[in-house]
């Protein structure tokens, strides 16, 4: 039988061994760091009703999303030239005017279609995208959309060389005047 004193000594020796082992495994370290400071940015973003919306034109068939920020237009192409002046309306719900342009970002089978897509307000127009002989060119020219005004997307001189379906996806870029702030809406043309 060990005495109480012996047990205490053994306990003490055990703690000492643990302390030494800890020191051995984790020797004293030096710490270093880099001084830095921070700038703080606190943005607040709110969901709001779009200041520009897309509305059905009188030509072709349009499908609009819930908030009228995307559209898909189905347009009939034939082997005779056709012009659709009012394929889609772009409507400002804003007290300030802005600028609008079309930018192609995807297409399929455009070689069978010749057409010119324009923006117009019944008085003035701006050529935006031309498809001819399988080539696509775009002007990247802005067209003014007056405050609370309406402009139209027109498809001019549309003709197909063969039966089929052509998809043309474009962004409708609306830009706040004199800024680089813009919103992209997606518009899909389906030429059948």
């Amino acid at each position: 039988m060990k005495t109480s004193s012996e047990r205490r000594t053994i306990r003490f020796a055990a703690w000492l061994a643990i302390a030494l082992l800890t020191l051995f495994i984790h020797p004293p370290q030096s710490a270093s760091g880099n001084a830095y400071y921070a700038l703080l940015s606190q943005p607040y973003a709110a969901v709001e009703t779009p200041l520009v919306t897309l509305e059905n034109g009188t030509d072709g068939t349009s499908i609009l999303n819930a908030n009228h920020t995307n559209a898909r237009i189905t347009i009939d192409a034939t082997q005779s030239q056709l012009t659709y002046n009012y394929s889609l309306n772009v409507v400002s719900n804003n007290a300030s005017s802005c600028e609008v342009r079309l930018e192609e970002f995807y297409n399929t089978d455009i070689s069978r279609i010749n057409a010119t897509i324009i923006l117009h307000d019944n008085s003035n127009s701006s050529q935006q995208i031309t498809m001819s002989g399988g080539n696509l060119t775009q002007t990247n020219t802005y067209f003014d959309l007056a405050s609370n005004g309406t402009i139209h997307v027109g498809v001019m001189d549309l003709i197909e060389s063969s039966e089929g379906t052509t998809i043309l996806n474009v962004y409708i870029r609306t830009r706040t005047l004199n800024t680089t702030t813009y919103t992209l809406y997606i518009l899909t043309f389906e030429f059948t």
């Binding site: 943005p43 709001e48 009703t49 702030t181 813009y182």
Partner: protein
């Protein structure tokens, strides 16, 4: 019952010796003495207003534009809105480079109406850092702190912000605080 003080004393001596040995073992150190004088200096890197600051509602505060509040960002349903130049980060040093990074700080506001809010640090051609907060329709995914990148002096980089709300979005708001760490 009596304590064996002699033994305890020996053990304590042993422990102190072990500590000393552990502290100085295996490395030979020398030291330099440094006397520091700390004075208040101006920060070389700070915010400046971008060309679109009015559209985005940017205001700068702090002794030297160290805090930017952006209060008029809009997110529209199923449409991506880009604020290309609401705010800039300027390195106003005369030479050399400085390391900077973007770091998420706080976020408050529901995720159900948003698709993403993306902050990028760019020079108009190259994106150097990005914090893209994305929503799965119920919760936000907060991005990780970016790596440090070097901004030359003197240079200004754009803080570009992109927003998008879900189709059918009605009304919601979110406040996101991000830090630009300067090393």
């Amino acid at each position: 019952m009596k304590m064996n003080y002699k033994k305890s004393l020996k053990l304590i001596t042993l422990l102190v010796s072990a500590l000393l040995i552990g502290t100085v073992s295996a490395s030979v150190y020398y030291s330099l003495t440094m006397t520091s004088t700390v004075s208040v200096a101006t920060n070389d890197v700070y915010f400046v207003l971008g060309a679109d600051n009015e559209t985005a509602g940017v205001s700068l505060t702090g002794a030297r534009n160290t805090t930017a509040t952006i209060s008029s960002l809009k997110a529209y349903a199923n449409a991506t809105t880009t604020y290309s130049d609401p705010l800039k980060v300027r390195n106003n040093a005369t030479s050399g480079t400085t390391n900077i990074r973007l770091r998420p700080v706080t976020l408050s506001g529901g995720a159900s109406q948003f698709v993403f809010i993306n902050f990028t640090l760019n020079d108009g051609a190259t994106t150097y850092a990005s914090l893209n907060y994305t929503s799965n329709g119920s919760v936000w995914t907060t991005p990780s702190t970016t790596s440090f990148v070097q901004i030359s002096a003197p240079t200004e980089w754009y803080v570009t912000i992109e927003t998008k709300a879900i189709d059918g979005a009605t009304s919601a708001s979110v406040t996101i605080a991000i830090a630009v760490d300067i090393q």
